[in-house]
Every structure is written in structure tokens, then in C-alpha cells.
Amino acid sequence: MTAIPLGVPRRLVEFTIDGQEARVPEGSTILDACRAAGKDVPTLCHGDTLTPKNACRVCVVEVEGSRTLVPACSRRAEPGMTVHTETERARHSRKLVLELLASSVDLSTTPQVAGWIKEYEAKPDRFGPEAARLNEEPRIDNDLYVRDYDKCILCYKCVDACGDQWQNTFAISVAGRGFDARIAVEHDAPLTDSACVYCGNCIEVCPTGALSFKSEFDMREAGTWDESKQTETTTVCAYCGVGCNLTLHVQDNEIVKVTSPHDNPVTHGNLCIKGRFGYQHVQNRG
């Protein structure tokens, strides 16, 4: 059982989604309301533990009176708002966003995106074989994790998690501009020369696998990564007394990676280097 923190009582906002009456607590986003109403709005850059960045624009919906489409993940519901989630206009933009992304980035390890590409009939190939892509080699400069910018959709979640929203280390930021913008540490140096403290909280929030455990990366390369064979066990970290929850991902009786439950009121999914990466001693059976 996880504890649910109780906030102060909030007023309800009444508005309509796709013709249906919706009532959500004040401050809720359109996306919250959609999910409460059982509607599926695709999201890529949205993170449950972070302030919405609304950079990917795949969750756009139509709000009457608004000149452009609005991102459901960050726009707060207002009384009397009329929202349409499934108009041709909204679907067109979602389809194009999926096409634009899939034509420039490797989305093979992004959950759910294959389903959306099918649902929206997106055809990323139609920009031709010459369409600009990143085409960068994965950066492997330490034993803990790998940065594969070919899979990066620039959602800024790792930047926010490393910065003022969780870790306060500020080791990564976006550098460059436009299509050439990249997540980078200072001076675009190797991670080992940067301010990184290897907490792995950026991996925790990365939605596409652009940041991954070295263990997962190696197993994927070797073709031995198999999530269907993995079990997940949530336990308490034994290193110190804070009481962070760890979820051990185990495949073939080996721990292959460690995550943390996002609804845990202590960590909200965040860990330190020990909790995240210090598991080898458990399996030193020699």
C-alpha cells in the first residue's frame, strides 16, 4: 500500500470534454480531466513527477475560442471551457508530430508509440530517405549509464529532474538551438568530467530509453533483454535510514536495473547513486 498525500480541499471546475460534462478539482489539467473521464490522449514528454514542459505537442486538443491547439498536459481546466479531444484538426497535428519525431529519432524503445503510429496512420517515411536525422553513436563514457541521443526527443525531463525540480545538481542542460539542440553537460564533455553525481534520476524520467542503465544497454545490444521474463520486486533500500523504496527488476535471477515507485511520498521515484546502482554486492555469490 502506498500513502496518498492529502492536499487542501479544492473547488471543482465544471467544463465539457467532447460534449460531456466534466468536473475536476481546481488546478487540474485538461489531461487529468481526460484521464479521469477514461479518454486516451497520447503523451510523450509528460512526466508524472515533473512540471509539464509541453514540448512534444502530441497531446494537443482543441479548445473553443483558442486560435491554436492547446497542450492538454499543461493547460489548466477553466470553468466553462469547451474541449474537443478527437477533432480532425487535433488528430492531424498529433499524426504529424508522430511523423516528424519518428522520421528524426529512433523511437524503437519508446513505449506505446508504435500503437499511436498505427492508430493515427502516421507515415514517417514519407519525408523521403534524405530526411535529416540525428544519426549519432551512443555515448558510453562510464560504467553506469549510456546516453543515446539518437533516441532523444528533447522532452527536457532529464534537465528538469537534474535541475531545480529534484536533484539540484544541474549537470545537464539543453545546448545549441533548433534541430541542432542537444542535451549536454558543460562544454559537451564526457559525463565523467561533468557535475553528474550518478543518481540516475534522469534515467528514471526518460520516456524513450535515450538514457539507460549500462546493464540494460548491454543486454539490448546482446539481444538478451527480455521484459517478459522480468519480475519486479519493491523493497526498502538498506543503505541508509531514509527509507527509499527500490523496485528491483530481475531477469534470470539477476538484478538488471533498479527503479523507484513514483507514488512513493518519500522519493517520488528519485534515488541516489547507491540505491540506483549499488546492487552488485547482492549478487556476489562467489
Binding site: L69, F127, D193, A195
Partner: protein
């Protein structure tokens, strides 16, 4: 906040450049030698962090002194301001005028944008590169805002002090001279040369350009300067806002939002302090009116900002000036210093007990920083990426406080509103577009420059005034973010509602004429290239969409009719998503000009 600094050290020059801006460091925590006191306490962290907004001026200081920003220099600046180096690196690499890789001290920016491209920029670039050795870095630049004198080049030589020289209209010899000997390059022509109507009796906004000495406060006052501010003090803040509202003034930067409503909304915010920001980041290709106003009549802008601040309850103003305008910078710096010395800025403006001062912030080559919220981020020392709205700037703007942001032309309109009164001002122009309007006319015309006309004049009248040449092929209204119209559409009234009815936009008042010697597909390609270069990269529709747009235009550059149909369909699909789903106006308008060229001009038929 964990801060990690590498072991790279600044050179003496770099250290001196930063210290000249921030003062000498006080403790070893920010780069001074360790003293006894440092062993007992650590000072500076929070105080220094509050000066994060000095990051951009700091980057300028280093870049101006050395020509590029080294690791050691960046780390030293970060230490002084307690800014994480990764973030500062992200900011430094955002702006086109900075380099984090070594380059020569002299950079020659050669404009390759629309007016200059039509006037032979590609040949100019080739000629310059053939003549200049490795000592000068030649940079193909987006619009330098010198369209009336196209083609244009701007040389910047790092040093103490930094030297700049402009060559426009540029020849290979002129540009090479500017780059190799900026001190002996010929003086730029006076700003009034860009105003063909200069000295005319019926001018309102341009009345003083060419008439007044831009360096003399006394001359400005002798020509009616500071009467509007006196009137503002008579009316009181609410009275000023009433006049501005009644005048019907709307923003001249392109969005046409009612200025009075914006001021009222800011003035009524309970949160304090309030800020006034003047958007002088004029980077729209084809736009140069704000430069001419600032160079020719700088005190007018200082006075209007003071009035805006008084009306909205602000005591601090920021003037965000694009980095490519060295002469405007010098004139405004001089004007602000003079105004301060004479009690027209400072603690007691005009002896009325009202405090207001202005700080100039220099942009560093990023079109997106003309977007109001991106501009706030830029001033605050972050990457110039637009914020999502709501909340709007009147509620949470600069430093998260209520902010009124207006562009230069909008602000300068406030002076005649107060001196002639709202009813007389509103009588100029049409019912819904009131007052005078500045137009930047360039391209295939005999007399390119800034024209002032009352709203409601037609496109044909304006082109006639500027001496349009024979065989006109297309007219671009509103700049790269605007749209093309046909040469026979000269009846379009130049008002916000008139252009809207005609299915186009007035934008920032750009009118670029192109005759049939200018290859249209090349022009469209340049527009696409501009947007691809200037996209901040934050949202997917714009970051990738502008690239796909440029690729499609490359593919069809020599094709027409059915052969181009599939790529035109692709462009429409991408363009629609960019317009609908991008975060800000850059992505939303990136497809306008190309679309209008296809639909109105039949560019690929």
C-alpha cells in the same frame, strides 16, 4: 545547488573582461585568492545567484574582449554568478553571435537575407571570402536590419574596446576594409538617409528624425521633447492609460494587441514590482524601422518608456536591443546617461518624486528573442525559449512579475497621443486602425526606406511613393512571417482589418518588392532556411517541421506542376501542424510566406 567547476582557468584578459562587468571577486568562492576570512565563512552564493540576469552581459563581455568564449572563461563567469556551468553552456550555445570554439578576433557578418540576397549577397560573400585571409571569420548572417542599404555587412572586432564597422551598401572592398580596419572604415550615413520623407511637415512619428541632433538632449527638448511626459504627470497614471485606450493604439510589433488594455492589466496587478520592457529586438527580415527611430530620435524612446512605466507603476525598465545594432546601442547609452544626468531618469524624474530608470540589455543573435516571453528568459539569463501562455506577461512576466512589454514603434506612438490628445490621434487612419504607421520598404524600389503613412493608405500608394520598378513579380507583406501578395493587388488597404480581409497580414509593417529578376523558389528557400536556423528547438512541430519544410523546398526548387504536387501536399500537412501545434509565433508563422507564394503567386505552377 551542487556546483561543480572544472579545472580550466580563465586567461588574464577573460578574467579582466568579467571583472570589468561584475567588479573584482571578493572571496575565493568566486575566484579570488583565498583569504583568512574564506576559511571561516562562505559568502556570496545566494547574493550572486540573484544576479543570474548578468549572465548574458557576462557572455557579451567575454565575447567582446576575446571574440569567443573558452571553457575557462565560461567557468569563471559561472563561479562569479553561481550559475551551473551546464546551464551557462546551454545559454552560450543558444546565441548565434557567441562561439564556444576558438575563432579569429574579427567576425564579419554578411547579410544573406531577403533584401540582401536580392541585391547580390551570394556574389558578395564569395568575393569577400576570396579576399580575406584566415584572420577574419566570415559569417553568413540573417537579416542585419539594413535592408534599405542592401547588401550589408557588419564587422565586429573583439578587443578592449570592441570595434564595429558597417558596410552598406556593401562592396567587396568596403566590407574587407570594415573587417581589416574598422577604425578607418567610412562613417555610416545618418539615420535620416533611411527616411525619404525626412523633414516633411505631416510626419508624426518620424517628425524629428533628421531634424534633431540625436546626441543632444537640449535639441530634443527644443523640438518638443518631454512635453508628453509633462502632460502624463498632469493626467496621472489612470489618465494616461485612459488616453492610450481612447486613442485606439494597438501594438505595432505584429500582434496588434490593444496597448491601453495591456497597460491597464499590468497597472492593476497587486503583485509588485512591475516592469516595463521595450522590445527592440527587431530581427524580422525586412524590418529596420526601430533601428532608424532609435538612431535618429533616441530620446523619444526614453521618454515613451518613462511614460509607460509611470502609467503602469513600474520603476525599472529594460530595453532589450538586438545585438546587431551597434550604432543604436551607442546612441541609446548616450541618451540614457544624459537623461539620468539631467534628472529625467533616476530617483526623481522631472522633480515629480517618481523614480524610474532604464537598463539596456543586448541580445546576441536570436530572432526568437523578439517573442515576448523568450525575451524575458533571455534577460533573466536563461535560454531564449518562449514560455507557454497562460500565464500572460501582464500577470507573470519578467522575473515572474507583472510586466508590460511593447515594441519601439508602439511606445513612440504614445508621445503624439499625449501631446495631441486621444481624439485627434484616433482621427488619423481608419476607425479600427488608428494613428500613423511606419512601413519598411525595400527590394526592387527606387527609394527604399522607412515611410510613415496614416493607416488606410493602399499598398499601391506606398509602392508609388517608394518608386516601384517595372516588372514587379511579388510583394512580401509583414516579413518572413508574413505573406506574399501579387503585384496587381495594389488596392489592399494597409490596415490590420484590410489586410486580414485580403487574406494576408500587415505584420510588423514590412513591404518588400521583388521584380522578376529575383528567382522566387530561391527566395522561399531562404525563408525556410531562416526559420530552420532560428527555431529555438523546444517544440517538435517547429524543431523538426522547419527542417522538413526546407527539405521539401529543396526537392522542388526546380520542379513545377504535377512533379511538385506531392511535396506541396507534404508542405501543407506539415505547415498546418506547425501553425496549429507550435508553442509560439515563430513556428505558427513559419509556413505563412511559403503557403502564400504557392497559393497567391503560383510559385510552382
Amino acid at each position: 545547488m551542487d556546483l561543480h567547476f572544472g579545472d580550466s582557468k580563465p586567461t588574464d584578459d577573460e578574467r579582466a573582461a568579467v571583472d570589468a562587468l561584475l567588479g573584482p571577486p571578493e572571496s575565493s568562492w568566486e575566484g579570488a585568492d583565498r583569504s583568512d576570512a574564506d576559511l571561516r565563512w562562505a559568502r556570496g552564493g545566494r547574493e550572486a545567484r540573484d544576479r543570474r540576469d548578468l549572465l548574458l552581459p557576462g557572455l557579451h563581455a567575454i565575447n567582446d574582449r576575446v571574440g569567443w568564449i573558452s571553457e575557462g572563461a565560461l567557468d569563471y563567469l559561472c563561479r562569479r554568478l553561481t550559475v551551473p556551468p551546464a546551464e551557462a553552456y546551454g545559454v552560450a550555445t543558444f546565441y548565434a553571435m557567441f562561439s564556444v570554439k576558438p575563432r579569429p578576433a574579427t567576425v564579419l557578418h554578411v547579410c544573406t537575407d531577403l533584401a540582401c540576397a536580392a541585391a547580390g549577397a551570394p556574389e558578395l560573400c564569395a568575393g569577400i571570402e576570396a579576399r580575406l585571409g584566415p584572420g577574419v571569420h566570415v559569417e553568413r548572417s540573417p537579416c542585419l536590419g539594413l535592408c534599405e542599404r542592401a547588401p550589408a555587412a557588419l564587422a565586429i572586432r573583439a578587443g578592449d574596446p570592441v570595434r564595429t564597422a558597417v558596410s552598406a551598401p556593401a562592396t567587396v572592398e568596403g566590407a574587407v576594409l570594415a573587417a581589416t580596419a574598422p577604425d578607418s572604415a567610412p562613417e555610416e550615413p545618418p539615420a535620416a538617409m533611411a527616411v525619404p520623407q525626412a523633414g516633411g511637415d505631416d510626419l508624426i512619428l518620424l517628425r524629428r528624425v533628421g531634424v534633431v541632433d540625436p546626441l543632444s538632449l537640449d535639441d530634443y527638448r527644443a523640438h518638443g521633447g518631454y512635453t508628453a511626459l509633462r502632460r502624463a504627470f498632469e493626467l496621472g497614471p489612470a489618465g494616461v492609460i485612459r488616453e492610450v485606450t481612447d486613442s485606439g493604439l494597438v501594438g505595432r510589433g505584429g500582434a496588434a494587441f490593444p496597448t491601453g488594455r495591456k497597460w491597464q492589466a499590468t497597472a492593476s496587478q497587486p503583485d509588485h514590482p512591475h516592469y516595463v520592457v521595450c522590445n527592440a529586438d527587431e530581427s524580422e527580415p525586412g524590418t529596420f524601422k526601430d533601428r532608424v527611430l532609435m538612431e535618429g530620435d533616441p530620446y523619444a524612446l526614453i521618454e515613451s518608456m518613462t511614460i509607460a512605466a509611470y502609467a503602469t507603476g513600474a520603476h525599472q525598465g529594460y530595453l532589450y536591443l538586438r545585438g546587431e545594432y551597434p550604432r543604436a546601442l551607442h546612441r541609446l547609452e548616450h541618451a540614457i546617461a544624459q537623461a539620468r544626468a539631467r534628472g529625467l531618469l533616476g530617483d526623481d524624474v522631472l522633480g515629480q518624486g517618481y523614480a524610474f530608470d532604464i537598463e539596456i540589455r543586448r541580445g546576441a543573435g536570436a530572432y526568437i528573442c523578439g517573442e515576448e516571453t523568450a525575451l524575458f528568459n533571455s534577460i533573466e539569463g536563461y535560454r531564449g525559449e518562449p514560455r507557454s501562455k497562460p500565464p500572460f506577461p501582464v500577470e507573470k512576466g519578467l522575473f515572474g512579475k507583472p510586466t508590460v512589454e511593447n515594441n519601439v514603434e508602439t511606445l513612440v506612438n504614445v508621445l503624439p497621443i499625449l501631446t495631441m490628445g486621444a481624439p485627434a490621434y484616433a482621427a488619423i487612419g481608419t476607425e479600427r486602425s488608428t494613428g500613423p504607421k511606419l512601413f519598411c520598404v525595400s527590394g526592387s524600389v527606387e527609394r527604399p526606406g522607412i515611410y510613415e503613412l496614416p493607416f488606410g493608405a493602399t499598398l499601391g500608394e506606398l509602392l508609388e511613393l517608394a518608386g516601384v520598378r517595372e516588372r514587379l513579380r511579388a510583394v512580401l507583406l509583414g516579413g518572413a512571417a508574413g505573406g506574399f501578395v501579387r503585384p496587381d493587388e495594389r488596392d489592399i488597404p494597409l490596415t490590420f482589418e484590410g489586410t486580414r480581409e485580403a487574406g494576408t497580414t500587415l505584420g510588423s509593417g514590412v513591404v518588400m518588392a521583388f521584380d522578376d529578376t529575383v528567382p522566387l523558389p530561391r527566395l522561399l528557400l531562404r525563408i525556410a532556411e531562416f526559420f530552420r536556423d532560428e527555431s529555438c528547438g523546444q517544440c517538435v512541430p517547429c524543431r523538426v517541421g522547419t527542417v522538413r519544410q526546407e527539405e521539401a523546398l529543396h526537392r522542388i526548387v526546380a520542379r513545377t506542376g504535377a512533379a511538385a504536387a506531392d511535396d506541396i501536399a507534404l508542405l501543407r500537412d506539415v505547415g498546418r501542424a506547425m501553425r496549429d501545434a507550435s508553442i509560439c509565433g515563430l513556428g505558427q508563422t513559419a509556413w505563412n510566406a511559403v503557403e502564400s507564394a504557392i497559393d497567391r503567386l503560383g510559385a510552382y505552377e
